[in-house]
Symmetry: C2
Subunit: 326 residues, 2 copies
């Protein structure tokens, strides 16, 4: 199949590698092709996946329309803040669009497939998500993911498109739940990382994760998603890997916050985007609008955007009065 | 309150410490008081909690009846294989019994509160569980736990008995679910540890944990527990800490299996009990009897009791045909 991958960050590159290995005809779009010039020459993405061979990606384009010409499928792997702009140039596309970006638009509360519904109204939209650290996927370490969409044929096509012995693809008919799980877990992972930075223990982290998934589910259900989805790969699975892995950007972002760095300074200095930072603001607003109780998200928001002391935020969280588990 | 803690292992000692800090009158029973003689003298349990001060535990008894005389509450913290024998000498007790042991009796499929129902029929039974690594609790690191029982008054009494600023106690009215979550997670943690020993990555582990809790819930519900309980502290929370913590015995047991040690050799050489080892056998039998699909438990059983190669077990798990998430 002829496929375009928009975005040559770590995740876009890892997915392009999988597609090439599956025998597909892949073109990569990069906003700054000069930053990933080694992709087409030495078969490496030295900026985002240093040291990992990604051979076979010879076509790297800087024009979105040119990159996606005659493609049956377009994979969108750009940061959430660029999603609207990049996909707006695909307006007339009628093939399959795969969003692999985890975020929530602040102004509208839309997930990325929701944004696609506005920018590419005739496209068939699916989301690919799950516990999928790009570096491990690029290395061929066994990974399970989930593809979700309203169109059954489209999600089965995408399942077959990406399925490899070391990259299992499940399907789900709840794209909203899959996307919200993937986006909201980054906010809880920032909290978990902050706990690491403060030197809290494994018991505390497990409790935070357990209460975190309750909160994610509550907000997701209020948005119209199915409760069970949050117990799956894109909810619990992705939350787990993001809260625990040394490789997780959002956990690491939180760890630096826990150690006392200013959130805005970390954002300014980072090469790769920690999506939990903008998502915390969008999720906080969404929960307020829908009148959903989200104590962890509220504390992360207060630390990231209102200058609240992070140790104080943890104290306020753990001293909440709670009697029964539910 | 006058309380006896039966068992002077790491968990019994950590809980006794919390009770002393809460101002309660605590007697500890130890099968071999000479092994924990420093508890009453230097305020240390050098064998099971080396280096952690546990002052105020002056009464260490070797006779169960003597230790529990005139107590309103008895905390049972002995390994599951000794549970029946130790609690059989409490037959006439009518106060509150708190089981903190995570296991399933092979012959009957009973949890520890189920065993208490037979050995101490007039006692009020509750289970205390959750992501509670003994070492962290003994150090005063913030921890959340859950106490479950049919008798509302008994569980509220136990909630107040243990509640401390750094040890939060929630309540649940589903003791079976709380106990099965606590017992079965050890089997999945052995699988997770085996993956660590084999050098599998964070994506794989998150997928294993996600599928693991589905399997635990499925078996638990077939036994009569409530599905939601497994999303709580004693299910997901305890599973998480046990699969990820360096301090977890069951994860470490699995890691050694993954590195190629023989399971029976590890058991023979260990000071502390990895409850997942006997639980794997009991859970496998229980799932067979109830005709519940438990692929992870089945593979752990095959590795631990039938000599199956652990790498092969992982291959068989990851190559199962799966299309949709549910």
């Amino acid at each position: 199949m002829k496929v375009a991958v928009l975005g040559a960050g770590a995740w876009g590159t890892a997915l392009a590698k999988i597609l090439v290995e599956g025998g597909h005809d892949v073109t990569v779009w990069a906003r700054h092709p000069e930053r990933v010039a080694t992709l087409a020459t030495t078969g490496m993405n030295e900026r985002y996946l240093p040291g990992i061979p990604v051979p076979g990606l010879h076509r790297v384009e800087s024009d979105v329309r040119h990159a996606s010409q005659n493609c049956e499928c377009i994979v969108v792997a750009v940061p959430s803040k660029a999603f609207l702009e990049v996909t707006s140039s695909l307006r007339d596309f009628r093939g399959i669009l795969v969003s692999v970006t985890k975020g929530i638009e602040y102004d509208t509360g839309l997930t990325m497939c929701g944004v696609l519904g506005q920018t590419v109204p005739e496209g068939k939209r699916v989301a690919l998500s799950g516990p999928t650290l790009a570096l491990e996927v690029a290395k061929g370490i066994p990974t399970a993911s989930v593809v979700a969409g309203d169109d059954e044929e489209a999600r089965q096509t995408v399942q077959q498109l990406f399925h490899r012995p070391s990259f299992r693809v499940y399907t789900s008919s709840d794209p909203l739940g899959v996307e919200l799980g993937g986006a909201l877990k980054n906010v809880v992972a920032i909290a978990a990382g902050s706990g690491d930075g403060l030197g809290l223990g494994d018991n505390s982290k497990a409790a935070l994760l357990t209460r975190g998934i309750v909160e994610i589910r509550r907000l997701g259900v209020a948005c119209g998603a199915q409760a069970e989805t949050f117990a799956g790969l894109s909810g619990l699975g992705d939350l787990t890997v993001t809260c625990y892995s040394k490789l997780s950007r959002n956990r690491m972002f939180g760890e630096r916050v826990g150690r006392g760095e200013r959130p805005a300074d970390i954002v300014a200095k980072s090469v790769a985007v920690a999506e939990g930072y903008p998502t915390a603001r969008a999720a906080y607003q969404l929960a307020k609008n829908l009148r959903v109780s989200t104590p962890i998200i509220d504390e992360v928001y207060a630390v990231l955007y209102e200058g609240k002391n992070v140790a104080r935020a943890f104290q306020d969280l753990t001293h909440r009065e709670t009697k029964a588990e539910d």
